[in-house]
């Protein structure tokens, strides 16, 4: 495997990690608006992701940093091309991040409601926008010979990318509900589980719609038909199993299955792209690839050494932190937010 391929895989892994982890705290963040019946339950939900969401978000930052370092042209084209959606994404992430810290600091009702809305919208918009962006990568974008992407609104937002955005939102929501059922107790836990189960049907419908659209709107089945097909089969298996585990009240396993679905979905996007990183809708020759978008060999080598020596530590202490907070969050304990 060349270093360019390795870094493509690493960027993919970082995005998989991001969607798997931040996916559930986006889902929990969304669920605070309709799953929690009172302020105490909202606090329990928020506290269930309290120790984790910040570190989860760092996966996105690291993915961005890795793109910048390993594929500067990918980073430059994507971030300048998707300018306005990224502005909205940033505003949402900013509002959400401070909301967690601010909401519990003042007892006033209106204060809390305001930050609760920030948490809800800030958890809903980012997975939607990222879903739109990722499906756009697959569908192709008007990238010219100069590697600049000059996209109009409908290049970015269309039936296909909207379907992608909504699918990601639903996936994160179910994933988050199962995380909530894993970390809470009593009636809140049961409601989370029930709702997750109910939402499996619309989730399946969205997957089918998005899959069918993918056949018509992209070339991924032509390029990597077998591999994508295999991923799809595994995805269906994970989906069926998640339903079965929910009905058996094995929340941990069910959560693992929605996580697997997320990982497979993101992996499918990267498999479909490879060896391209952004597809040009103007000409195949203008697509950005792991070669024309990449840094030089020396830079990639240095980054490989650094990343491979740091990653075990990062994974080690992150797993440890989940172990420390493995107990369920009760209403009857000190709640930080």
């Amino acid at each position: 495997m060349s270093l360019n391929e390795l870094w493509f895989v690493l960027v993919a892994v970082l995005f998989v990690g991001f969607f798997f982890l931040e996916g559930f705290d986006f889902g929990v963040g969304m669920s605070t608006k309709f799953l929690a019946k009172n302020d105490m339950e909202r606090r329990v939900l928020i506290n269930s992701i309290g120790p984790f969401w910040d570190a989860n978000e760092v996966w996105l930052l690291t993915a961005g940093g890795a793109m910048f370092a390993a594929f500067p042209n990918w980073y430059a084209t994507l971030f300048s091309g998707y300018y306005t959606p990224l502005v909205v994404l940033l505003l949402a992430l900013i509002a959400r991040g401070v909301a967690f810290e601010f909401r519990g600091k003042v007892g006033h009702e209106k204060w809390k409601t305001t930050w609760d809305w920030a948490i809800f919208i800030g958890s809903l918009l980012p997975p939607f926008l990222l879903g739109v962006v990722f499906s756009g990568l697959l569908k192709g974008l008007p990238i010219g010979e100069d590697m600049e992407m000059r996209a109009g609104l409908f290049d970015m937002v269309n039936l296909y990318t909207l379907a992608g955005g909504i699918t990601v939102v639903m996936l994160c929501l179910v994933h988050g509900l199962l995380f909530a059922s894993l970390r809470t107790t009593g009636s809140l836990q049961e409601r989370a589980r029930k709702l997750a189960r109910k939402l499996l049907i619309p989730l399946a419908a969205l997957f089918v719609i998005f899959g069918v659209l993918t056949v018509f709107e992209t070339d991924v089945f032509e390029v990597r038909g077998v591999l994508i097909g295999l991923v799809a089969v595994l995805g269906v298996a994970a989906f069926v199993l998640s339903g079965w585990f929910i009905s058996k009240q094995k929340d941990g396993w069910a959560f693992g299955m929605t996580g697997t679905m997320i990982a497979l979905s993101i992996a499918a996007v990267f498999i479909g792209l490879f060896p391209r990183v952004m597809v040009s809708s103007i000409s195949e020759a203008f697509s950005l690839t792991i070669d024309n978008a990449a840094s030089g060999h020396y830079s990639l080598k240095v980054m490989t050494i650094v990343a491979l020596s740091l990653l075990p530590f990062v994974l080690g202490y992150q797993i440890w932190s989940y172990f420390v907070f493995h107990k369920r969050v009760h209403e009857k304990e000190h709640l930080e937010y």
Partner: protein, 469 residues
Amino acid sequence: MLDPILLARLQFAVTTIFHFFFVPVSIGLVLLIAIMETMYVTKGKEEYKRMAKFWGKLFLINFAVGVVTGILQEFQFGMNWSDYSRFVGDVFGAPLAVEALFAFFMESTFIGLWIFGWDRLSKKVHLLCIWLVALGTTVSAFWILAANSFMQRPVGFEINNGRAEMNDFFALIGNGQLWVEFPHTVLGAFATGAFLIAGVSAYKMLKRQDLAFFKKSFTIAVIVALLASFGTAMFGHQQAQYLVKTQPMKMAASEGLWGKSGDPAPWTLYAHIDSNDEKNNFEIKIPYLLSFLSYSKFSGEVKGMHELQAEYEQTYGPGDYIPPVRTTFWSFRIMIAAGCLMIVFALYGTYLAWRKKLEKPNNNWFYRVMLWSISLPFIANTSGWVMTEFGRQPWTVFGLMQTKDSVSPSVTGGQILFSLIAFTAIYTVLGAVLVYLFVKVIKKGPNEITSTGSEQLADPFGKEGYHVS
């Protein structure tokens, strides 16, 4: 009509300056909190735990704003400065990626463990967590400054395929610029956090609230403030000497020096600068001082802007290589003035603490001064960066790439204007909320935040729950 370059620069200035209000506070506060918790663990006195928790409240509010405004920083290079990103990504991207991988993960994971881990971790492991957060913030500063140092003095690269490609990673992190810039910035950050704690403590002593608690906080903070301010000045001096060698134009501009300085070179305290006619109309000068600042001796000449402009035209071709002189000149002086005041006040505060004179009522004037002095490090930090970044103009990467060639060709002025307005608006709200919450926490004082936690007492299930966990 809407100039994308101007708007992109304005947005970078607004968002970066705002972000850098919170970064030094975080770096400084977490160090002091780590010191306090260390004293708690080694001495076993509850008072120090209360301190770590009380100042921790301020730290967490501040940290949240620092983190969210930092996300934007990492995205902004690609969004507004895509040509810059393409040109330097090979070199500049690496420290950013390492920063995320090394520092951001560490900070974010261990801060979560610290906030929620008081009852779940042993004392020593909990203490280790806050030290790892402190380490993370400082390591983060190192890597982002490694990236910035490359812009000031590019090293460890070669030009291939029309872009800068890294060819020596160790040259990048061994950059002389980095090793004067990093200690200067981080010590300044320690001073920022220390002045915040010292200032708030002074205010509470003025109000005669929780005297013992705030006396102790003040003492710890003012000692750190003194050491850090003094260290910042020392490394600032190192940096100035380095500047004369590597970016003489910035030095000349920050001195308002059009012609040669003469030998020995005097330092200009005040100048009425006329940038159009390229001369100063009125100057107050202190003899020998510029020679000392530049070479640590009382002789030696410093080159002026006219001479350097001619040299740069020879090297880089025709163009205007003189940065905005008045901005550079005055921001440098404001930074120095704020820094000197910080040293003086920290010195006097340390003297009072050392002679055990803190409780004397005739110190009230000084406590008021210390309260207002909270602003001094912010003024110094901001003006220092304004000098550094304005003084590098017209370059983004000195000698390699100019600012006008760095912006995103596909982004319109209208788009940048929209984001500029949106970010400025949300940042204004964040700033206001932060100040409001700071005041609220400070007014409440540490007594509300006992080791059992304040929310708990207001919480009907609280007491019971505490014993269960």
